[in-house]
Symmetry: C2
Subunit: 333 residues, 2 copies
């Protein structure tokens, strides 16, 4: 007997059952009585410890993310926490950093806390080398694992993501159709998702008969200053580029800082397209054209999938949403 069965039997939502259990006053007396009657009837003890011991659930979901202060990941956590709470689940948050060994440690830590499920937030959990993802498949033997913007095949693993390949393919195509063919590509991680983005860029060039030049692609980490300096040194080598697509808005803001330092006018001298449509995109000047990967929609999908798994309903293994190019001031189209 768990919160789902109670909600079903009482004919109210899980959120309502949760509210009653937690003594929230936003419930009518009638509904409260109905829920409490079912709870009493079935002997359900709404106490975290008793629940944990007797019914093997803490009604807790673990969220793992590399860095909760990254604006994109912070927004994900915000959506997920709200949606989980609405469904009567608590959130145990772990910030893992970007090291594989730490991710493994934290995932095992969450399992030892007997969470009901785990959400891995952001593409950085999936390594291109598949053997390195085995610890996730092992964890999925114990609890359902949801990947937010990541993809991995395996039993009890569910993915909700944006079509990153198509997104950068379309963005690159858009630039080419506007007569811009010298396009830099900057990325800051080797995750599966970032590989897809890079592949989209490469495929768009190929389909338009534009040769791929590896000096046009840079792997870059570090702050805005680093990005700016990297671009200055690239341009000093005589490389001529008219546009920059990045795997992340932060890199794109660095590109704007570069353009400003060289007195380049945006977008006439240099077009810039970011990725994530995060707060960076509206803060900077000129405001950034950015690929929106539908974070809120993806988060909703993650939660409805997880709730479906908990209540043993059939759920999709993988759901892919299309991205959207949000046009602002760093492109002329």
């Amino acid at each position: 007997m768990n919160i789902y069965d109670i909600s079903k039997q009482a004919g109210v939502s899980i959120a309502t059952v949760s509210r009653v259990i937690n003594g929230n006053t936003n419930v009518s007396q009638k509904t409260k009585d109905k829920v409490l009657a079912v709870i009493n009837e079935c002997g359900y003890t709404p106490n975290a410890f008793a629940r944990g011991l007797g019914l093997n659930t803490m009604n807790t979901v673990g969220i793992l993310c590399p860095d909760s202060s990254d604006p994109y990941l912070a927004k994900s956590i915000y959506y997920l926490e709200q949606m989980l709470r609405q469904n009567g689940y608590d959130v145990l948050l772990c910030c893992t950093g970007y090291e594989l060994s730490e991710k493994q440690n934290y995932l095992n830590l969450l399992l030892s806390k007997r969470v009901d499920g785990v959400i891995l937030v952001g593409p950085n959990f999936i390594e291109v080398q598949d053997a390195k993802n085995e610890y996730i498949r092992l964890a999925a033997k114990k609890v359902p694992i949801i990947l937010l913007n990541g993809t991995l095949s395996g039993e009890n693993i569910y993915c909700a993501l944006c079509d990153d390949f198509q997104a950068t393919y379309d963005a690159t195509n858009c630039l080419i159709k506007n007569g811009i063919t010298d396009i830099l590509y900057l990325y800051n991680s080797n995750s599966y998702s970032n590989k897809q983005k890079l592949d989209g860029y490469v495929a768009a060039l190929a389909d338009q008969g534009i040769p791929y030049r590896k000096e046009f692609v840079s792997y870059l980490t570090g702050d805005l200053q680093c990005v700016k300096e990297h671009l200055i040194s690239l341009s000093r080598t005589g490389l001529d580029f008219k546009a920059i697509i990045t795997s992340d808005d932060h890199l794109a803001v660095g590109a704007i800082k570069y353009a400003k330092s060289q007195n380049l006018s945006i977008p006439s001298d240099l077009s810039i397209i970011g990725y994530n449509n995060s707060i960076y995109a509206e803060c900077c000047d000129p405001e950034l054209t950015s690929i929106d990967n539908r974070l809120e929609t993806i988060c909703k999908n993650c939660i409805s999938t997880l709730m479906g798994v908990f209540s043993k309903e059939p759920v999709p293994l993988k759901t892919i949403f299309p991205a959207e190019l949000v046009k602002r001031e760093t492109t002329s189209f």
Copy 2:
């Protein structure tokens, strides 16, 4: 017997005990044996449920924040989560929104989960009307409550904060000493902290013999566009201002957008000072002069206070840090 006693008896840090319990491999065999010997000797069962039942601690700290996607709050959560983890504590995260009733509900929810302590993140938890803060004092009868950038007197309530009054006092003074006396002040919340900031602005004007004009002070919520439009309509009323101090970087970025829309040059026509020294400050153009309220230091202080309370050491009720004005491109000094 809890994790502290074990750490004491084994002569290792709490983090090490936690690592051993959680099967983390970053511990030498010798240390591991020593910790396990103490654990076995005292009959400590390192299982979340058993711990909860038998020892009345889940080694979990609740973090309440209004909105985990706000960059300042996101950064706080990031620091706190890491520091708590290092001390062997899990984080139960709740995002409450800004409504008082919801804050009350979530705090009670955390208490029902038997957390060992609660950290209230951000100044928005403390209402100027003291009666509205009574629910926090009630909660403090059960577990220690730590206020991060808030202040409230009461038993078992501990505060770590920045001297917001002095910060805006100094910033306002700085402008006045540079010959700028027509200074707008924009704020976006009625928290105690924001009242301190406003008082600092008012006091600096008074001390320099500049009359306070209430049309120079605006309470503003909403996005960048709203801030921009509000300033445009203010200037259309004929109000002449040469500087803007804001209670938050987001408002300051809105002020930059306003200046740009009116072809005002920054800082010669308009100086702007933000608050928080968040990522907004570096993203925007020109980059924002902002008051840094030492978030990492404050977070560290919160955690060391909480750990002190847990281990029954004497700890300060209130710790106040000075802010620092980080000068960038929106001021001429």
